[in-house]
């Protein structure tokens, strides 16, 4: 039975999530050097084009068509049978197509998150093939396992409200693997270059925060109290994490920075994502305050010691934040918030924590392995890294023959 309120809400949420990919483009684009800003914007926008088509042609079927196999079934190829009637096992009150297009936006932003790791040095042709393979061979199966009818992690009772495991852990781990495989940027030995446009970073982070309301509360798939809960805890966790990062910097670096504050807010949004439909507001504050500590340690202490060049901290923020969010869901989940969910460790059900850890480890292992294979394969056929000269001149000119800013008119 279609409910017009639910339908309107989820359609609007899909539009909000769509906005997150261009928002991410500005968030990342502001951090890179100005010779590479168009390269990052282009990578995000081309993913929006590519995965939109991949999704309606076969991605949605491979993820969500009922199947107990590795992938989803093939019954919904080209959206065959995905029409205006609800598919009650996913969402009983909205047209099936509305659910499909809402999920499309998740499939789009997930590979875009990985861009942060290999920014400023990947060849565009190799990138396009890598992303298409990654969306199909990594995202689609994991989405099926966690969310699809017949998916085995869903069957185990793993809780992932809006994509902490499927989106952030899978992309975060892929980010770490690609950063290790592609190697450091030229000139990274000394230190990372300063962000070329911090106002862009803030603009992008602000729009990500805004879009995340669609991401998390839209995942209730209905305009109801659960959506309201997700909205409230999402905003609360982002706020707590942004504040927490600023305080960490104030204490350890002498001054709080806008770059740190918005990075913290994004980490908070990542961490609350799997938990948004299962936890109440006080756990959301705890999740937000603590995620900045973990991510701060990862990007400011661990990364420099280990020396890998995760250029824009895609692993440090999305990987670490996503892992903490998935674990925190196993700690703080409560049936009082969502009777369809489960209780976590702090509500007397230690088994849930075990299930969450299983989902985290399986996702990490699968994403790492497949990312490695896909990267090596594309690298052998097309090549993944630009030449040294192209890297020096920048991706904007070398990969796209355009420049973002003029020096002379």
């Amino acid at each position: 039975m279609i409910n017009s309120g639910d339908t309107g809400f989820v359609l609007f949420s899909a539009a909000l999530v769509m906005l997150m990919t261009p928002a991410l483009a500005f968030f990342y684009g502001g951090i890179v050097r100005r010779k590479n800003v168009l390269g990052v914007l282009m990578q995000c926008m081309i993913i929006l084009c590519l995965v939109s088509l991949q999704w309606v042609l076969f991605g949605y079927s491979l993820s969500f068509a009922p199947s107990s196999g590795f992938f989803g079934g093939l019954g919904w190829l080209g959206l065959k049978g995905v029409g205006f009637e609800p598919y009650a096992d996913y969402a009983a009150t909205i047209p099936h197509q509305v659910f499909m297009i809402f999920q499309a936006m998740f499939a789009i932003i997930t590979p875009a998150l990985i861009i942060g790791a290999f920014a400023e040095r990947m060849k565009f042709s190799g990138f396009v093939v890598f992303i298409l393979l990654w969306a199909t061979l990594v995202y689609d199966p994991i989405a099926h396992w966690v969310w699809g009818i017949g998916g085995w992690l869903r069957g185990m009772g793993a809780l992932d409200f809006a994509g902490g495991t499927v989106v952030h852990i899978s992309a975060g781990v892929a980010a770490l693997v690609t950063a290790l495989l592609i190697g450091k940027r030229k000139g990274y030995a000394d230190k990372s270059a300063p962000p070329h446009n911090l106002p862009f970073v803030v603009l992008g982070a602000g729009l990500l925060w805004f879009g995340w309301f669609g991401f998390n509360s839209g995942s209730a798939l209905a305009a109801n109290g659960l959506a309201a809960n997700a909205f409230v805890v999402t905003n609360t966790a982002a706020a707590a994490a942004g504040l927490s990062w600023a305080i960490l910097e104030w204490v350890f670096n002498g001054k709080p920075t806008i770059f740190g504050t918005v990075t913290g807010a994004v980490a908070g949004l990542v961490a609350i994502t799997p938990a948004a439909g299962f936890v109440s507001v006080i756990p959301a504050i705890i999740i937000g305050l603590s995620v900045s500590v973990f991510c701060y340690l990862a990007v400011a202490i661990v990364k420099p010691r280990l020396g890998y060049d995760d250029a824009l901290d895609a692993f440090g923020v999305h990987g670490i934040g996503g892992i903490w969010g998935a674990i925190a869901t196993g700690l703080f989940a409560s049936k009082a918030v969502n009777p369809a969910g489960s209780d976590g460790l702090f509500y007397g059900n230690p088994h849930q924590l075990f299930v969450q850890l299983t989902a985290v480890l399986v996702t990490m292992a699968y994403s790492a392995l497949m990312t490695f294979i896909i990267y090596k394969a594309v690298n052998a056929v097309i090549g993944m890294r630009v030449s040294e000269k192209e890297e020096t001149i920048g991706l904007d000119l070398s990969q796209h023959h355009e420049g973002a800013y003029t020096v002379l008119e």
């Binding site: 010779k35 030229k186 000394d190 020096t392 001149i393 000119l397 023959h401 355009e402 020096v407 002379l408």
Partner: protein, 113 residues
Amino acid sequence: MKLIIAIIQPSKLIDVKNELYKAEVNLVTISEVLGHGRQKGFSEVYRGLKEMGNLLKKIRLEIAVNDNFVEPTINAIIKGAKTGDIGDGKIFVLDLGECIRIRTGERGGKAIG
């Protein structure tokens, strides 16, 4: 007194600065410029229309030094900026007529350091 002007690759600026610090040359003015020598860049295309130009971003350093610092400064710039490829840049050395420190009114060699 000499005025040393160097045009280098933007990506070599960090290396050149480090070499200059090692040579105890701490005073330098830096600006961003466009130019090209024999190195070919990439032409730009905007909505299908090709822009000519081939101008590449370069960094221009200006360093005023006393005579005993001329060779160390030149060597430091070469050490930091050289890759061996076309486009590494050039160094120009000019006689410097006068140098005045605005704060104190000092002139000549004393005002440079």
